[in-house]
Symmetry: C2
Subunit: 166 residues, 2 copies
């Protein structure tokens, strides 16, 4: 009987299958060769974590405080402190005083750092653009639209999980 018209809110096996695929994809992207190649594309070593900070700064488009970077990347402060120190050593970022708060410093990519971040992003964007190149236009548009909304929805719900409770 349940084969006819499943209730709109019920659990869906295809959703489970999709989540399984996405989960695998997530690990493959995080640890796999694509990001490795993209990091190599920056011309620097293969320090993924530091590149992540650089990308956060680049996409922000303005200098950020340590705490702001940590929030955006959803990691704790000390981790960012260390990555920024690594970036500074290689002249990819530098600290400038925060005019409004002497406790804080603003982190800003150097010209070399900004270029490295751009190469990284261009490589990834190109790769995914290729991956979608043969898709029908409508499907591509739908995917980007729905994926963005999905990510936003889920991120919001995850934040709620973190705060008060479920």
């Amino acid at each position: 009987m349940p084969a006819e018209a499943p209730e709109p809110g019920g659990p869906r096996p295809d959703l489970l299958a999709a989540l399984t695929r996405i989960s695998r994809l997530g690990s493959a992207l995080t640890r796999g060769r694509l990001v490795e190649r993209a990091v190599e594309e920056t011309g620097l070593g293969r320090d993924r974590a530091a590149v992540g900070v650089l990308v956060a700064l680049r996409t922000a488009g303005k200098p950020l405080r340590i705490g702001e970077i940590a929030d955006r990347m959803q990691v704790v402060g000390p981790h960012i402190t260390r990555q920024v120190q690594a970036l500074e050593k290689r002249d990819l970022a530098h600290r400038i005083p925060d005019p409004h708060d002497a406790r804080a410093r603003l982190i800003e990519p150097t010209a070399a750092g900004a270029e490295a971040a751009d190469r990284y992003l261009a490589f990834l964007l190109g790769w995914f653009t290729d991956a979608l190149a043969e898709w029908p236009r409508q499907d591509r548009d739908d995917l980007v639209r729905l994926l963005s909304r999905f990510a936003d929805d889920v991120t919001t719900r995850l934040a709620a999980l973190g705060d008060g409770e479920e």
Copy 2:
């Protein structure tokens, strides 16, 4: 001029924005409280990695060799060896001889292990079902369909990156 009708294959800023969101979502899911809660739901400790193995076995629906588990999870063999040892100690899985190859053993969840995996999956599936509950039916269907295809496409291309070259 580029505001009118962008060429179908060109780079899209909205794709970059979507990738940024998805990337953040990925980290939040991997390290965040949702999976933590789902793992707690199993009734076992908070050993995410071991639960991953259990889920791989459960979704396979049949006993798997160490190498098969490693392939599906896209990690190396020694890692699986250790997780399976942990599962065995807690009576969540056990090894049985492979009738076709005396070098290998087949890993099979115990009843307790299978139930734990089911609780984990049910929790996650329920959470995502809730997250999509207020979406229009059509959008939900499209998302699941396109997301699955996207994951498959990208996984295939990633595998190609690993093999020959690209």
